[in-house]
């Protein structure tokens, strides 16, 4: 942390929260250009306290985005490249024998960071995947009878390649449910790409990112977002959407209760972009697709990206049919 963080005012307000979030998004934009809505979504998820799943082809800036996020927010960062021979201990840490004291001591693994990039998560065997995902859900690691708390705020940004499935262990749906949002960056627009060619003169893009926040500010943003007002009618709207997915003919399985809670949290965080201290049906609609498209299970046998597209399409249809509260 080279620069002193611009501290939030002691009493956080929606306007202050928006300023902080825009600050972070501005820094991210320096690293990943031309993707304002995706960046906004990443920050929304971060403020809502959720984990992010980036699904995209290699080379569009997934890793850069995660690293930029860590740097902009002043979070401790670790990157774990998941491979087929990665063991849970490689991620979580292990008890190591200490010769002088003749005792076992816990040596924390790379997971004990505030922001962990789990690169190509689907390449690791299910055992390792589930070790990570359990840690994500619990916020702590249990090893040999001892519980080790993970640092707060703890966020995982996982990536996976949706196209190349050979030698992978696709994440089971139950695990997917633990990511608050799933998103893909996609290729930048031609103008942005051309601009990259012209301006990037060998310096890594992360150098341009400044640290504009700190873990304490993020924690206060999270608690502020979690306390935003969600009107009963809006909560009812979320539940009606979930009910509609559960009874939809083309869906094998609808939104879970965890999905309902995640949508509520994401909608609250999204409300801060408008400097509001309450969430609206519009907030719900804005985060509905990234929040739920990876959680609902289709009856048809399509897999991967096309399944996500299909699910997003169905969700759009459901959202059109379920009337929003007026």
């Amino acid at each position: 942390m080279n620069q002193p963080a611009r501290a939030l005012s002691p009493v956080p307000s929606p306007a202050n929260a928006r300023t902080a979030m825009e600050r972070i998004a501005t820094q991210l934009d320096r690293a990943v250009q031309g993707k304002p809505s995706q960046l906004q979504l990443v920050v929304t998820s971060l403020v809502a306290g959720g984990h992010v799943l980036l699904e995209d082809v290699p080379g569009v800036g997934k890793t850069t985005l995660a690293e930029a996020l860590a740097k902009a927010c002043g979070l401790s960062f670790a990157r774990v490249q998941f491979t087929a021979d990665l063991m849970p201990a490689d991620v979580l840490g292990a008890q190591v024998f200490h010769a002088q004291t003749a005792t076992f001591q816990f040596r924390p693994g790379p997971l004990f960071r505030q922001l962990v990039l789990a690169d190509e998560l689907n390449r690791a065997p299910p055992r390792t995947q589930s070790a990570l995902l359990e840690a994500m859900a619990q916020g702590q690691v249990s090893l040999d009878g001892a519980t080790h708390a993970l640092p707060a705020p703890f966020t995982v940004v996982a990536t996976q390649n949706p196209v190349d499935f050979s030698g992978t262990y696709p994440l089971p749906d139950s695990q997917l449910d633990r990511f608050m949002v799933r998103m893909s960056l996609g290729h930048p627009t031609p103008e942005v790409e051309a601009g990259l060619l012209v301006t990037r003169d060998g310096t890594p893009p992360l150098d341009a990112v400044e640290t504009v926040s700190e873990p304490e500010e993020l924690a206060s943003l999270r608690s502020f977002a979690a306390a935003l007002r969600l009107d009963a009618s809006v909560a009812d709207y979320v539940v009606r959407l979930a009910t509609a997915t559960r009874s939809h003919g083309d869906l094998e399985r609808g939104a879970s209760t965890r999905a309902v809670l995640a949508l509520g949290a994401a909608a609250r965080a999204h409300a801060l972009w408008d400097a509001r201290d309450f969430a609206t049906p519009g907030d719900v609609r804005a985060v509905l697709l990234p929040c739920w498209a990876h959680r609902i299970m289709l009856r048809s046998a399509v897999q991967g990206v096309s399944a996500r597209d299909e699910a997003a399409h169905l969700l759009e249809e459901i959202a059109r049919k379920v009337p929003a509260p007026r």
């Binding site: 009107d231 009618s233 509001r276 309450f278 609206t280 049906p281 519009g282 929003a324 509260p325 007026r326």
Partner: protein, 684 residues
């Protein structure tokens, strides 16, 4: 005049009209009061108030009418209750035509209350009940609209549409509550002070007088009202009974009318208790309906014993005495709304009486002829009989001749000096009394004893019993056959003996009778004793306990059934109530959003398939629509009010809408000055 005011006045006037109608259905108000009130109501409904400038003059007129009515009442030519009701109607009419201010409204409603009270005193019938409800509903709504109207500042429109829903709901609840109150609370009987109208559809016509007079002008109206219901044992099980129900007989004819030689035969009063057991007789349980309008008992020919007489009066049913009058007529001692009794009749064939049983003067009267009877009557009879001396054969021959040669008509003959000669030799058409009289007299001219009988002919099957209608009233002939007694011979053509009403009308009347008897049982005569009976019938078992079984203390199954029903009803009511309370009400913020969208629609910005205002605002912002800067704060305020828990302040919605309207106007002017169409909002 404001729109709401007009509606309120129309409702007020109609309410007053139905209050008046609730009195008018009794049929006792004088015709002039009906006409005056009707004219006043029509004028008032047309929106004209001609008395507005002549209050004092019309009040004086009213005073004069009051004086006239009072004099009439004192003179005894007008019933006090009727006079009071007519006057209440006139007051109401005068108020209807005066300036419609708050005081007048109150007086109109007050006079309406007076009129329904008068209606209760005059009739209290089913139709009255309907008009009472109509008055209650209309007057309540008019009153409530008046309250709303006074709360709205001058110059602003009355929100009639908005208040109508809750108002109707409230009135509905009030009506339901009134019905519940009616059922649950003991009450006094109605209709105790009025002059005792004959209830139902107009005046009853089946009266039995001491005489039967031929002649008169006009047409006999065929009345399909049901006057009598009877259950017969043994049950003949025929669709139409076609039997003679005799009420009384007449033996002396003076050329114009029939009467009896002795006014009363023995005049004794008796209260007979009939017991079952006379198997060879036809047993009848007869109910005389309110439309009957008389106190004479009728029974199938030939009545043998009458008894078990019960009169149903305003204050309940009770055993009553019957007494015999001249002509074998048996009457109830006490008057009631309806009656029931039992009768035994000899099976068709013969009466037990014989010539010897009759007192001599009565035997003589059966042969008496009016003075100055046209000689042609006797000549014609002799010619037709052609030497036939057996009374029964002669009577049948004569009646067959009458049926063949004369036609039936309901037109009365008018007052002629000799109705019999007129019927036989001039008009050659008449109704049953003409036929019966002619036959009786022709028999007497030939020395055969005969008398006139009146009553009913008919009986159609309805649910296990038989009903007789007022239009079934009939007259026929009894011919005395030595050794067999009086035998019935009917000279009227068979097709015209019973009621001639159209089938559909009879069915409608049947339906009305059923509804009316329900109204009578359930509403008018529903009293404290009935309430107790309902409760008792629910808790007491009707089964005879077995001698051997120990007496059970457990309540009978029907008590459990009733409890279950009550619980189900309570549960349903609770469910409906909670549903009603938890139903979605349009919020103020939502109405505000509707208003905003209406303004946007006027600027040709429409929502695309179910878009919310929030989404619409976001879309306009994306499209950089010129109205977006004006709309965004409005949308923001709506969202805060709707979802953020910060309701709109007093007048804030109006202010925001005014600002938005200004922006819309500015924008449309700008577009007009540029001469281009405004950018149509489209789905992005």
């Amino acid at each position: 005049m404001r729109k709401g005011t007009r509606l309120r006045l129309v409702l007020r006037d109609l309410g007053s009209g139905s209050a008046f109608a609730s009195m008018a259905v009794s049929g006792q108000l004088p015709l002039w009061s009906l006409v005056l009130y009707g004219v006043a109501l029509v004028v008032a409904l047309a929106g004209r108030r001609p008395f507005a400038n002549r209050v004092k003059l019309t009040a004086l007129l009213l005073l004069a009418v009051a004086l006239t009515l009072g004099t009439n009442v004192l003179a005894g030519s007008l019933n006090l209750v009727v006079a009071a009701c007519a006057f209440a109607g006139l007051i109401s009419a005068q108020r209807l035509l005066s300036t419609p201010d708050a005081a007048t409204d109150g007086q109109v409603h007050l006079s309406g209350l007076l009129m329904v009270a008068g209606g209760a005193a005059l009739s209290g019938e089913l139709v009255y009940g309907l008009f009472l409800i109509v008055f209650g509903v209309l007057a309540s709504i008019a009153l409530a609209l008046g309250v709303v109207e006074s709360a709205v500042p001058e110059g602003e429109p009355v929100p009639v549409r908005a208040v109508m829903g809750p108002l109707a709901m409230g009135v509905g609840f009030a009506v339901v509550g009134a019905v519940a109150f009616f059922i649950l609370f003991p009450r006094l009987n109605w209709n105790m002070i009025g002059p005792g109208a004959s209830p139902g559809l107009g005046v009853a016509t089946a009266g039995f007088s001491n005489t039967v007079r031929l002649g008169g002008a006009g047409t006999i109206k065929d009345n399909p009202r049901i006057v009598l219901r009877a259950t017969l044992t043994p049950d003949p099980e025929k669709e139409t009974l076609d039997a003679y129900w005799v009420g009384r007989t007449y033996d002396v004819f003076d050329g114009m009318e029939w009467s009896n030689a002795r006014a009363t035969s023995n005049g004794s009063e008796f209260m007979t208790t009939l017991r079952p057991g006379q198997e060879n007789l036809v047993h009848q349980h007869v109910e005389l309906m309110p439309a009957y309008g008389a106190r004479t008992l009728v029974a199938l020919e030939t009545p043998s014993r009458l008894g078990n007489a019960v009169a149903n009066t305003q204050v309940g049913s009770r055993r009553t005495q019957i007494h015999e009058l001249g002509g074998g007529e048996v009457r109830f001692r006490d008057s009631g709304i309806s009656y029931s009794y039992e009768a035994y009749s000899l099976p068709p064939g013969a009466s037990g009486d014989d010539v010897q049983d009759l007192p001599p003067e009565e035997q003589d009267s059966l042969l008496s002829l009016p003075e100055g009877l046209d000689v042609r009557v006797g000549q014609t009879a002799a010619r037709v009989l052609n030497g036939e001396r057996d009374p029964l054969a002669a009577a049948r021959k004569l009646s067959a001749w009458l049926q063949r040669e004369y036609s039936y008509t309901l037109e009365l003959s008018g007052d002629v000096p000799d109705p019999v000669a007129d019927f036989l030799f001039q008009r050659k058409q008449g109704h049953c009394e003409h036929f019966a009289t002619a036959l009786t007299l022709m028999l007497r001219t030939q020395g055969m004893r005969a008398r006139l009988a009146t009553g009913f002919f008919g009986g159609e099957r309805v649910t296990g019993g038989y009903v007789v209608r007022a239009g079934d009233a009939h007259a026929w002939t009894h011919v005395l056959v030595p050794g067999r007694g009086f035998i019935t011979v009917d000279a009227t053509p068979p097709a015209h003996r019973a009621s001639q009403s159209p089938r559909l009308l009879e069915q409608l009347i049947n339906f009305y009778e059923v509804v009316e008897s329900q109204w009578r049982d359930v509403v008018l005569d529903y009293n404290f004793r009935d309430q107790l009976t309902v409760v008792r019938s629910l808790t007491r078992s009707h089964e005879v306990p077995k001698k051997d079984a120990p007496p059970s203390r457990a309540p009978p199954p029907r008590a459990f059934g009733a409890a279950l029903l009550a619980a189900a009803a309570a549960y349903t009511a609770w469910r409906l109530l909670t549903q009603f309370l938890s139903r979605e009400r349009p919020l103020e913020a939502t109405r505000f959003a509707d208003a905003v969208e209406a303004q946007l629609a006027s600027a040709r910005i429409t929502r695309v398939d179910g878009e919310t205002l929030e989404a619409l605002d976001a879309r306009l912002a994306r499209e950089r629509h010129p109205l977006s800067p004006a709309l965004t704060p409005v949308t923001r305020r709506y969202l805060e009010a709707r979802f953020g828990g910060r309701p709109l302040q007093q007048g804030e919605a109006t202010r925001l809408l005014t600002d938005l309207r200004r922006a819309v106007l500015t924008e449309s002017q700008r577009v007009a000055s540029e001469g281009t169409r405004p950018p149509q909002a489209r789905a992005s």
